[in-house]
């Protein structure tokens, strides 16, 4: 009965100044909501980063060929081969026991055309020579038809599988299956045997691996590519020609178990560098290691976000303290009356503490509700941005567009707990000060 009365009285006193109480609550509200929001967004971003790394395959080791910078100027330069070779690919597959399989990949940027429809302009895309395992290892999913088969690869068939976006561009009104795609630069035709599902691009990782956009890819057997296009690639760029000579753009080594990845990566690297330790034309990327790195980064990120949120809570707490100090001064006379009528010091402390705790609990609960709305608000604002400012939206980094805020469950009790602690902590001083007023002085206060 008594505590009920205390809480009732506290609420009444707060409602005496609704605007003031509202603003004070707002401080805690923002603090709590921002704890939940920042942690949710942080979690969303790191989950997305982890997902992108996992898309590369935690059990994969990726070796990219890198074109060394041109050393000699002019047209008389010697064309030297660079990058990983088919031999090395075979060597890795044959000598390292922890390797499950090795995928040779060769990529070229090409124009793709469909001659059956005169309205369709050629599209710039990426021609990927690969094997049948490629789809499984890089997690490409087939929408229609089938991916390249081992038999098609072995027989150098002129067939291809195209990515969803490319299919939409080249075949806006037709079924792409069994149509011929024409490569004007190579003067080659490929028959479409499969269409892939839509897939989001992966982000650039640590500078060693560029962002990969799979949406305009065409996959052909790597054997067909070698037979029809050789290892030499000549491009016209601004009036002059540049020639590159390389066997493979990338090999993806799939390891039997992800536990073996670090060891295998060392072996792969040693194999590739056995003749030249300072070899500059390859880069080894180990998604497993990136994943481990991402996990530490995530922890740092969360701590950073938490720190910012904690600061906003403290600011909210200072707001409470400020208001309560003003309230104590304003209600000095009431304190005097209460003391004269038999209120003990601890009764006065309790009375003011109940008020601050009420403020912080209300702020905490509304803040949690607002925090839980985070995913919805992010979705709505993305939608709004896409609708009203599409250019701005398009210029957003990939991760901001696809990231889904994930509420960290622990952040809810933590945020609530902190808000109550802040209420008690910042309310205690004004409450004690109120209780220590001399009742005679307080009664005389106008």
């Amino acid at each position: 009965m008594r505590y009920f009365r205390t809480v009732k009285l506290g609420t009444k006193s707060l409602l005496l100044h609704p605007m003031r109480s509202l603003l004070t609550v707002l401080g805690i509200f923002i603090g709590v909501a921002s704890v939940i929001w920042l942690l949710a967004i942080g979690e969303g971003i790191s989950k997305e980063a982890q997902r992108q790394i996992e898309d590369l395959g935690a059990e994969n080791i990726i070796i990219r060929s890198i074109k060394p910078p041109d050393e000699s100027g002019g047209n008389f330069r010697q064309i030297t081969a660079f990058g990983v070779t088919r031999n090395e690919c075979k060597l890795i597959n044959d000598t390292i026991s922890t390797v499950k399989r090795v995928l040779p990949i060769r990529e070229l940027s090409q124009k793709f055309a469909y001659t059956g429809n005169p309205n369709v302009k050629p599209v710039d895309g990426r021609l990927v020579g690969c094997t049948a395992d490629y789809a499984e290892v890089t997690r490409l999913e087939i929408e229609r038809g089938h991916f390249l088969t081992t038999r098609e690869v072995e027989l150098n068939r002129p067939v291809c599988v195209i990515a969803a976006k490319l299919a939409e561009r080249l075949f806006p009104s037709e079924d792409p299956l069994n149509k011929q795609i024409y490569l004007p630069e190579k003067k080659e035709n490929f028959k479409i045997v499969g269409v892939l599902k839509h897939r989001n691009a992966t982000a650039a990782i640590g500078g060693s691996l560029a962002a990969q956009d799979f949406s305009l890819d065409i996959y052909i057997p790597v054997t067909t590519m070698r037979a029809r296009m050789t290892d030499q690639e000549t491009k016209r760029a601004g009036g002059s020609f540049s020639t590159k000579l390389f066997e493979l753009s990338q090999i993806t080594v799939q390891v039997k178990s992800s536990d073996d990845v670090p060891r295998t990566a060392e072996l792969v690297e040693a194999t590739l560098r056995q003749n030249d330790a300072d070899r500059q034309d390859i880069a080894v990327v180990v998604p497993y290691e990136l994943l481990e790195q991402a996990k530490t980064t995530r922890l740092m990120f969360m701590m950073f976000m938490g720190l910012i949120a904690a600061i906003s809570l403290i600011v909210g707490g200072i707001g409470i303290m400020n208001i309560m100090l003003a309230t104590v001064t304003e209600r000095t006379r009431e304190i005097g009356i209460r003391r004269a009528l038999g209120g003990k010091q601890r009764d006065i402390v309790l009375q003011f503490l109940v008020e601050t705790i009420t403020l912080s609990i209300v702020g905490g609960i509304t803040g949690i509700l607002m925090g839980l709305l985070c995913p919805v608000v992010v979705d709505v604002s993305r939608w709004g941005l896409e609708y009203f400012a599409p250019q701005l939206y398009a210029s957003l980094p990939e991760v901001a567009r696809v990231m889904r805020p994930t509420i960290v469950p622990i952040s809810i009790p933590v945020a609530f707990g902190i808000s109550v602690v802040v209420g008690v902590f910042f309310g205690l001083y004004p409450a004690v000060r109120a209780a220590q007023l001399d009742p005679i002085e307080a009664l005389r206060h106008e």
Binding site: M1, R339, P439
Partner: protein
């Protein structure tokens, strides 16, 4: 009443209070002794600086004497801790202030209950008692009103009801009519007389002779000492009819005001 007059509501012996202000010591009370038997009606008078307020604070257990003793129902207030003083104030003293000092957030009946709240005695029975007291002071129909919705006289009647709720040793009235006009002053004084006639002990501090004339006894302070302590000669007493009439008029006036 005569049977209980030998029991003491308050016994004060050589009460001294010194304040230390910077370097000098102000001797506000320099040894005051008197007794207040139960059922007494005392007016404490004196010019400003006479120690009136200091004595009031001591009688109200808001302060402690530098020297001397103040026995309240057998307990010496001079030896009490702050919490014990609070308990005494809640349970044994009925304050009536010049400026009513009701709590703005609370209704009439809740204001009356405040001392009980601090005694931890809030229950259905105490609520009933508070309502009865509100009725007794003529505010039975305004239980849920806020102080700001009441006139000065009505607020003071609420304060008097509040002072009675804990069945105190005495009602301590500090210039209780100081903020009121003459009609309302009469109303309050009539109420005091009625309570005193019913056996309540009243100690009131005032500087108005007309008010003091209603008491049974006057203690006059001067420079921290008792100048005189004597029964009131020619005490003004309201007759029972007058009391009824005043109460009736007050009731009519407040109804008309609404």
């Amino acid at each position: 009443m005569t049977q209980t007059s030998t029991r003491m509501a308050a016994v004060i012996r050589d009460l001294q209070k010194h304040y230390v202000l910077k370097s000098e010591t102000v001797r506000a009370l320099r040894g005051v002794s008197f007794e207040v038997p139960e059922g007494d009606y005392v007016a404490i008078m004196g010019p400003s600086g006479s120690g009136k307020s200091t004595l009031l604070n001591l009688l109200g257990c808001l302060d402690q004497p530098t020297h001397g003793s103040f026995l309240l129902g057998g307990d010496d207030v001079a030896q009490m801790t702050d919490d014990e003083l609070s308990t005494i104030r809640a349970s044994r003293i009925g304050f009536v202030f010049q400026s009513y000092n009701l709590i703005a957030q609370l209704s009439v009946v809740e204001n009356i209950e405040v001392p009980l709240y601090y005694m931890g005695n809030l229950n259905a029975q105490s609520r009933k008692r508070s309502i009865e007291l509100a009725k007794m002071v003529g505010l039975g129909e305004r239980l849920d009103h806020r102080p700001t919705q009441l006139s000065g006289g009505q607020q003071q009647r609420v304060a008097i009801a509040r002072s009675l709720v804990n069945d105190p040793y005495f009602i301590l009235a500090d210039e209780a009519t100081g903020n009121l006009d003459s009609v309302t002053t009469e109303e309050i004084l009539a109420l005091f007389q009625r309570l005193n006639d019913e056996g309540k002990t009243i100690i009131m501090v005032t500087h108005e002779d007309e008010v003091a004339e209603h008491a049974k006894r006057v203690i006059r302070l001067r420079d921290g000492e008792i100048q005189f302590d004597k029964p009131v000669e020619g005490r003004k007493v309201f007759t029972a009819e007058q009391i009824q009439e005043i109460a009736h008029n007050a009731d009519v006036a407040s109804r008309g005001a609404e």
